[in-house]
Structures are given as structure tokens and as C-alpha cells.
Amino acid sequence: MMHDVPGDPAALEQLRVQRSRLADRMRWPWWYQSGLAIFWALAFACPFLTHGVRIWPILIGAVAVACLLQWGLVRATGIKMATPTLLYPASGRPARIAMIVGALAALEAEFLLIRHGLTVTAIVVATLAVVAEMACQQVQLRGIRQGLRGGGGAA
């Protein structure tokens, strides 16, 4: 059946509004941000551990916290994004690369500073690294929201 009904472009416009509404749901609750900060703090605290302490339980704990946070976020927002890789999704890719490079650089700097007895400077570096990682994650989130608004390449 084919009838005369105006409004196809209007339907596309309506879809843009609906996608914008969906993207607005993609916000981090306070507990997720706090959890992320704890996760990064744990990660950047690793170089401070003395030789007597095993690193594996801490790493496993950090991964468990990350998985739990992700699970909670999916349930809170009602949106499950595909597992991100370095290349996918395209939105927020620079922030993801910056996060990895920044984390590696900060860990290396901490090891170096601790070896030279500059513990206070190493603590400052660790704190700055946590702040930087949180900022990168915010940029990444903004990219994800932008991707949802834009339709991930689909019109």
C-alpha cells in the first residue's frame, strides 16, 4: 500500500532527537566516578609496594572492581556498549590512546623516582596521573555520547 503522507524527513529529525535522548542517559553516577578514581589510585600505587608485598592480589582486586563497576554502569544506564579496543569505537579513540600512554609513562616515572629516593615527587606524579586518567575518561565518555547522537555512522 502506498499512501500520501507527509513527513519522511521529519521522521529522520525525530530519530535525531530520540538518539540525543538515548545519549543523555549515558552519564556516570557518582559511585562509578568514585570507583574509577579508586581503581586508578590502586593502579598507580603499585610502584610504591615494597618487595615483600605480592602484586597479583592487588591487580586481581583492581580488575574485579573494574568489572563490577562496568556491570553496575550497564544496569544503571540501560545501555551496553561493545567492548572497546584501541581502534573501536572511533569516538573517543584519542582519549583511549592518551590513557594508555599516560598510564605507562606515569608508572615508569614513578618507578624511576622511587629508585632515586624521590618518594614525595613520585606521590605527586601518581596523584596527577589519577587526575589525568579521570579527565581522559570524561573525554572518552563525551566521545561515546557524541557517537550515540550521531548514530555511529548510520545516517
Binding site: 530520540q18 538518539r19 538515548l22 548510520a154 545516517a155
Partner: protein, 155 residues
């Protein structure tokens, strides 16, 4: 992506559901989809079943405590059909805005009563199925109506 209209996706409610699922998320929860689309529970249930039966949408049901949770995602075939349909709509939008632009340039405002109305036509493109042909007459006048393939009301 081939710009092809899909009669199953064309009704506005199904277009909203599919368009939201194609926005970039992997899985979208029932409540998130309902709120973003601005439709009722029953409409979403009914239309998602149609899309599921057509093999366009995959449904996963679960529960958190005593609360049932339903998740949706597009299948590969569904994603292809949605992208084709959205591309077709985008082409249509482009045609309409080009028509409006031409009308403005020609000095005629859309809706002028002294000009004969131009009627878009449906036709068949060889090997590509149904297509919309927007005709323009009367000095590049913008078309007044867009024709739908199917205008079945679904809500």
C-alpha cells in the same frame, strides 16, 4: 550501504526502535529504549516482537532480583536493513532540501498557490526495488509531500 527502503522498518515506531538500536550501543535495555523512543511499554513489546520475528532484532530476557529485564540488539541483517533505510531517508531529506533551496533561488516560496503542485512518484529502479522520485515543476518549486512506501499505523 545501499539506500533501499524497507517496508518493515518504515512505520515510525519501528523506525525509532531500529534507529536507536543502530545508534552505536551493543545492547539497549527495555526502559532505556522506551524512554528514548517516547513510546509505551505495550507498543514497544508489540513492535519488538514484529522485528524479532523478522530476524531484525535479538531479544535477551533476564531478571535482576524480581524485576524482569529485557535487552535488545540489532542482528547483522537488521543492522544492514536499518542502515539501508536510513541512507534512503537521508537521500530523501537531501532531495527535499535541495528542492526547497532551488525554489528559494528561483524566487518562489514553498506553498505558493499560483504554482501547480508537483507530485512525487514511486517507481521501480532496475535491480534496486522501490524508489521515490521527487518531481519538480513550476520554476524549481519545492515538493509539498513525501510519499511513504507503507503508512501502516502501529501505535
Amino acid at each position: 550501504v545501499t539506500a533501499t527502503p524497507d517496508p518493515l522498518i518504515h512505520p515510525i515506531t519501528r523506525l525509532s526502535i531500529c534507529g536507536l538500536l543502530a545508534a552505536g550501543a551493543d545492547w539497549v535495555e527495555f526502559a532505556a529504549l522506551r524512554d528514548a523512543a517516547g513510546i509505551s511499554d505495550s507498543v514497544l513489546s508489540k513492535q519488538s516482537r514484529v522485528l524479532e520475528d523478522a530476524g531484525y532484532v535479538e531479544v535477551r530476557k533476564g531478571a535482576v532480583g524480581r524485576r524482569p529485564r529485557t535487552w535488545f540488539r540489532l542482528t547483522a541483517g537488521g543492522r544492514q536493513a536499518v542502515q539501508g533505510h536510513l541512507a534512503w531517508l537521508a537521500q530523501l531529506e537531501e532531495t527535499v532540501s535541495a528542492g526547497t533551496r532551488d525554489a528559494r533561488q528561483a524566487g518562489h516560496l514553498p506553498g505558493d498557490r499560483d504554482q501547480p503542485a508537483s507530485e512525487p512518484e514511486f517507481g521501480e529502479l532496475p535491480g534496486k526495488g522501490p524508489a521515490l522520485v521527487v518531481t519538480s515543476s513550476g520554476g524549481g518549486r519545492a515538493p509539498r509531500q513525501i510519499h511513504h512506501v507503507d503508512t501502516e499505523r502501529v501505535d
